[in-house]
């Protein structure tokens, strides 16, 4: 399985010619560096090579390679302080890396859902206005996208009146209004309860199926994210390991980082979700084939 994946998606993992699960041992990383540092993946929406950031003598990111292709859900996990948000900020262009480069495809349009969206109760703003500001989208499009995220009923409400889950969906709607081909969500489930979390991930998966955009999802939660992702990248300042959810969970680096219990919880989750339903009700086998589908999809589009 690992080999097939490697062939079909010549990304960060494929480029250095062995299993797509990168170990964090030195030899592996040095190989990855020699071969991939110089070459961006031309098919990727966004392609980063050798990213490094240091602040006050401390390394926040060390030699991070990352590719996100169209239609692909990439989940970035890692403990607190692993540099997940820093990496996102670099990819968004909000922060300049000290080392390495980010290559963005010419037609890249990012829709961004930030980590914390504390609505400042001091700004009076309705949902409709929040979505309209800075874009001047026609009202029909706004209401159609609001209904895509199941939030039509919030249109006339003040942002401050929304629950955590509603607010996240509205911010997601704002990101979708930009017609992105890459959606970046930084820990979108903060302040959302467990059911809301599952719903939000289902929604993101559905939207991906429908629009075909790439998704970069930052998460600290291992149980829910994994099932929806085509690829998981495990970050602890450097890329510890990456791959499709089940392989990554068996990787020693993953187990070391999150403990055997997290890996077991994941296995339980997979058991419950060995298939998924798309928007039309068709059943798909989860994980493995999903990863390959998106790889092939990305290839044919490029």
């Amino acid at each position: 399985m690992a080999e097939r994946e490697g062939r079909k998606s010549p990304g960060a993992e494929g480029a250095h010619g062995h299993s797509h699960v990168q170990g964090d041992d030195r030899s592996c990383r040095s190989v990855a560096r020699q071969k991939s540092n110089t070459r961006f993946d031309p098919n990727s929406l966004i392609s980063a090579r050798g990213l490094g950031i240091s602040r006050d003598g401390r390394d926040l990111l060390i030699d991070v390679d990352l590719d996100i292709r169209e239609g692909e859900i990439v989940t970035l996990i890692g403990p607190n302080g692993a540099g997940k948000t820093t990496l996102v900020r670099v990819l968004l262009g909000l922060e300049k890396p000290d080392r390495g480069e980010v290559h963005r495809r010419n037609d890249l349009r990012i829709g961004y859902v930030p980590q914390r969206f504390d609505v400042d109760s001091v700004i009076p703003l309705t949902v409709e206005r929040f979505l309209r500001i800075g874009g001047n989208e026609p009202p029909e499009r706004i209401s159609s996208i609001l209904s895509d995220v199941d939030a039509s009923y919030t249109c006339e409400q003040q942002l401050t009146e929304l629950s955590g889950g509603e607010l996240q969906r509205v911010v997601l709607a704002r990101a979708l209004l930009r017609a992105p081909n890459l959606l970046v969500l930084d820990e979108p489930v903060q302040g959302v309860d467990y059911t809301g979390e599952a719903e939000l991930y289902n929604l993101i998966g559905r939207l991906r199926d429908h629009h075909g955009f790439g998704v970069l999802l930052v998460s600290h939660d291992l149980h829910i994210v994994m099932a929806k992702s085509d690829r998981v990248i495990c970050l602890n300042r450097h890329v510890c390991c990456s791959g499709v959810p089940d392989t990554v969970a068996q990787h020693p680096a993953y187990v070391r980082l999150f403990g055997a219990q997290a890996a077991r919880a994941l296995a339980v989750y997979r058991h419950h979700h060995d298939h998924s339903h798309d928007i039309a009700g068709h059943t798909h086998p989860a994980h493995d084939s999903a990863g390959e589908d998106s790889g092939a999809e990305g290839g044919s589009r490029a």
């Binding site: 909000l94 969206f117 001091v122 009076p124 309705t126 206005r129």
Partner: protein
């Protein structure tokens, strides 16, 4: 009296959008520090025999840039730096002004304003400066609002936050310098912030909040100056007291409504 009224009303309208943005971006303390540093600008103006309004403007901009630069370090919260600096700036300003022996300076006038001593030249500053400020605010309304809603999101969507912020700081410095004549550097931020706070519970959109802020400020200027003339109380403080009473009523009503 007429000149005081005209100046106060002009400033009330110019200050309204700035006051709203100060409240939205939680920059009241920031503005306070910049305003209090204005006294150093007065001293500078006196020493160099330049226009005092220009001196205050210049120092306000320098201090604001310094504060923005400080806020980039993460070791100490900006809040603590502001707490330290706004007293230091005031102290430095009082010392600097008092060390300049000639011409004699009315320190109280700079601290609390002297609205009845407004000269024709000050009116020109208020209306010419005010027109420019309002025009720029109107021009940058969308990016300013987006930054106030969520800075990172706006930046990720392509708003040039450094440039917009820099323009805002300059506008703030202009308004502070102009308003100093009327309400003094100690009450400038109150003149900006209090009407906006009073307007907030009554407004459903950002634009309506600005209009309400302006209306509350206009009403307060009229009532405050009338009080001042009737009771022979200082003009600037009287205006601010009226604003505060309106804000108190507005917030109390909002709290009562929230409890139901």
């Amino acid at each position: 009296m007429v000149r005081a009224l005209v100046a106060g009303l002009g400033l009330a309208i110019v200050a309204a959008p700035l006051g709203c943005f100060v409240v939205w971006q939680r920059m009241a303390y920031f503005g306070e520090t910049v305003a209090q540093a204005g006294l150093i600008g007065v001293a500078l103006g006196l020493a160099l025999q330049m226009n005092l309004t220009l001196g205050v403007m210049l120092i306000a901009i320098i201090i604001a840039c310094l504060l923005l630069w400080f806020s980039r370090q993460k070791a100490v919260a900006l809040d603590s730096i502001l707490g330290l600096l706004h007293h230091a700036a005031l102290a430095a300003g009082v010392i600097a002004v008092s060390m300049i022996g000639w011409p004699p300076v009315d320190l109280m006038g700079f601290l609390f304003g002297d609205v009845f001593a407004i000269a024709r030249e000050d009116l020109v500053w208020i209306f010419a400066g005010g027109a420019v400020v309002l025009a720029v605010v109107a021009w940058l309304w969308q990016p300013l609002l987006r930054l106030a809603i969520h800075e990172e999101l706006a930046a990720a969507e392509g708003v040039d936050r450094d440039r917009v912020r820099a323009v805002f700081i300059i506008l703030l410095a202009v308004v502070i310098a102009v308003a100093m004549k009327i309400v003094g550097i100690l009450l400038v931020m109150a003149f900006l912030v209090v009407p906006a706070v009073a307007a907030r519970p009554l407004a459903g959109t950002p634009e309506r909040m600005v209009v309400l802020t302006a209306l509350i400020a206009v009403g307060s200027v009229i009532t405050g100056l009338w009080l001042s003339a009737t009771l022979d109380s200082p003009g600037g403080p009287s205006i601010v007291i009226v604003m505060s009473i309106v804000a108190g009523i507005s917030l109390t009503m909002a709290a009562l409504k929230g409890r139901q």
